[in-house]
Symmetry: C2
């Protein structure tokens, strides 16, 4: 049974008592969709939790939970129990410290998992101290994963044959489930393509959606591997500056030519690390709908978030089917796996599938089978929980070392997510020079200026903390601080 | 020590008594290179085997072996022992039945191995009876390969990290060794890129070498998956007809616009199955050198050759560095592996590597390690020998069934190599219609007309015999013959 609740200023939200989707989640998603679609306007008052609970004939607890989550995510203002309103100014940063609050339900409460664009030319993927995009491979549960591989090694001959270019069916279903729970992505398995790494999603998008006449916007600064891939079909790449809230949509709207595609990293901007606030997300989605532009949301490391609650995906807020969502298992599992995925708007699925098949036909079957088991048996969720604690410790060691030993030469930027931080250098310092000298000393930060198409606003170093333990990180910062102090 | 032999009309060939390369092979390769480079001209008489042996201070046997091989391959004319000449008309078909002759040494004597372009949209890669490109997966040595995989499953964490986009170094070396021995490919490991299937080599070539202004020639009829991939960067695809000797180079030369790239399958034309003779090969290489065009040599199934001796690769005859060589392990091992490789002219290596990294960064490490062991431990050579016997039996069963049950409706074309044959239908029959009806009966030949960009000269069916055993093949032909006879 599906019934609609219309209470006070509450717009109609779908609610189904017989659904397996928990009540709080139905309410959370219904209200959120109403806000993001504009059916609930800023300043509108929501009914009390009591009223809504009575209207729906359910207990008050799930309503309370849903409102709490919406408050925390910055969709609502006020106080649960004493009047809640749709926020006027949806804040720049909707992420608030979790602190001692009990876990809230809904999209953000489940274990959050892997995705990575962190690619560029692979030769930039070193494994030494401070190298960007390296997960903690020394903590990977090799034995568990090996057991899953062994299970499929001597399977039936059909598993050796050509597979589905869209990916192994059960894995696509498992990815849907994971993305729905952890990232509030709204899709079914027919929209999921399993890729040989998320980088492939960029090439597929470029070949499917662009021509030499196209203009593609990327974040400035941004992920260099995206620029390279998105230009593969000859499109013009246009850098659009980011501010503290992500890509500047007003600047995007002012461009004097039609834009077909925009590449963004809203969960954790690469490289600067901020997340895109709700207001900016809605602005971006509105712009894309008006401009008939496609958005690539590269959710490359949303599984690792430390001091704030993850916002759901941009894809899940999009009611116009403009968002192509990219993710990867390179960080959640390991890079040598080469398994990523994309979620494609329905009307693009056929076209994307054709291009994907042209690239490498399909991804190796054995790993798809093993990852499917890893997800379905709960190993993935367990692994991510373990890894989050390890990364928090590594991040804290890195930040501590910078504060203690390098505060005079390095100024740290955003630090609450992912596996890297940006540390700014003093004005006038050549970050490429520093990165080169550091490499010769066995330390591998990346120059921030390498992420700019135009000239960098401020020199800096991108430092990965995922791949090295605490003592290595501290040693690397000592080396780096000495190097910077001794630049002539 | 390296000494040069200059005897009679014999041009200088490199010869090194201390080399590990067998004497016969040094002589074979030296003379062949002299012929293909034009240093030895048609009609020139070679010294007698006795004279050459004396001059080189070696026994007569290796000289005799080398000349015998060159005679068999059609480079020389005459009779070993009574005067040999460089052939005037290098024959259309240099492949002669081996019959009862003892195995000759040189490039063609070693086990020949895997490579496959057989891609298209993967959905065309069925696994049912007569499906093209399916190897005999029921005979794959699963246990042996599983043992190699297990060996690397719990290796050091570095194996989980990002790998070299060019491929795992030792595997690249092993591929060089295999290609040198089995396919007379002339390269070193720096020119080898390991790919996620050979299909990826087509996309890499298209993105690295073409723009929307480019013209790319393909064989007509030809491999549809190549057309799709080679057009990825917007190039114009021009079909050039094949005759009984492969692509018509004269027609290529008559085109009124510059051609940047040509795609050919000289070992075993897809789909028609003939091999390109020596004269045509030399003509093609000369044309490419003059036109500054690149050639993609897709050596997709040269490992399986039954009644004739394989010719070496086009790449090995090319003294101008114009040939990009593609191969795959999809047929020699199995398709779900997704490992192929390309050999790239030196001046293109950097450019190709950059593009390859943009596509999917690198191929999964685990499989690269296992394939490397499989090659180095001799498993690959053993496996290919076993498979050749199986494929001969399957091919013979298919041909026998056609002769006995379908000779009135199917006329078989070339049959001495690969895993498929083409059987022509009577004029006026719609092969797409036959293929569709066949699929509804559980039999999956491919319509020959699907390989044409223009209209097909003659309707036909491409039938794979690799993936089904003899009784299944016979049943499929019975079904097909009845279907064709009953077309209204």
């Amino acid at each position: 049974m599906r019934r609609s609740a219309s209470i006070g200023v509450m717009p109609i939200i779908p609610f189904d008592r017989t659904s397996q989707v928990p009540f709080y989640q139905q309410i959370y998603e219904g209200v959120r969709a109403a806000i993001t679609s504009g059916r609930l306007m800023p300043g509108q008052r929501l009914p009390s939790t009591r009223t809504l609970a009575e209207e729906l004939h359910i207990s008050r607890y799930p309503v309370f939970s849903a409102f709490d989550q919406l408050l925390q995510e910055g969709y609502l203002d006020g106080k649960v129990g004493s009047g809640t309103f749709v926020r006027y100014n949806i804040p720049d940063d909707v992420n608030r410290p979790i602190g001692a609050r009990r876990p809230a339900p809904g999209a953000a409460s489940a274990p959050v998992a892997p995705s990575t664009p962190d690619v560029e030319s692979e030769r930039e993927h070193g494994t030494g101290p401070l190298a960007v995009s390296s997960p903690a491979l020394d903590h990977f549960p090799t034995e568990i994963f090996a057991r899953l591989i062994r299970r499929h090694l001597t399977g039936p001959p059909e598993l050796l044959a050509y597979g589905d270019p869209a990916g192994y069916g059960p894995l696509r279903e498992a990815v849907v489930e994971y993305l729905r729970t952890a990232r509030a992505v709204d899709c079914d398995a027919s929209q999921v393509l399993i890729l040989s790494g998320s980088q492939m999603g960029l090439i597929v998008s470029a070949l499917a959606l662009t021509t030499p006449e196209s203009a593609v916007c990327v974040e400035e600064p941004g992920y260099p591997g995206a620029r390279q891939a998105l230009g593969a079909a000859g499109a013009t790449i246009i850098p659009v500056e980011v501010d503290s809230d992500g890509i500047d949509v007003a600047a995007l709207a002012r461009l004097d030519r039609p834009i077909g595609l925009v590449y963004v990293t809203p969960s954790h901007q690469y490289p600067l690390g901020m997340s895109m606030g709700l207001a900016r997300r809605l602005e971006l989605l509105r712009w894309a709908a008006n401009a008939s532009a496609w958005i690539i949301e590269d959710d490359y490391d949303s599984e690792y978030r430390y001091s704030s609650r993850p916002v759901g995906s941009l894809q899940g807020m999009d009611s116009d089917g403009r968002v192509i969502y990219l993710g990867t298992f390179s960080r959640g599992l390991f890079p040598a796996l080469r398994i990523g995925y994309m979620v494609v708007p329905r009307q693009l699925v056929e076209r994307f599938l054709r291009v994907r098949a042209t690239l490498d036909i399909f991804s190796p079957t054995l790993y798809q089978l093993a990852v499917n088991d890893f997800l379905r048996e709960g190993q993935f969720a367990r692994h991510l929980r373990r890894m989050r604690a390890i990364y928090v410790a590594r991040r804290d060691a890195l930040l501590g070392a910078i504060q203690e030993e390098a505060a005079d030469v390095l100024t740290v930027g955003n630090t609450d997510a992912g596996l890297h931080v940006v540390a700014y250098l003093g004005d006038g310092i050549d970050d490429n020079d520093v990165a080169l000298r550091a490499a010769s000393l066995g330390v591998f930060p990346r120059a921030l200026s390498s992420c700019y198409m135009t000239s960098a606003v401020r020199p800096g170093l991108i430092m990965g903390f995922g791949g090295s333990d605490e003592s290595v990180l501290r040693g690397a910062i000592t080396t780096l601080a000495n190097l910077i102090r001794n630049l002539e």
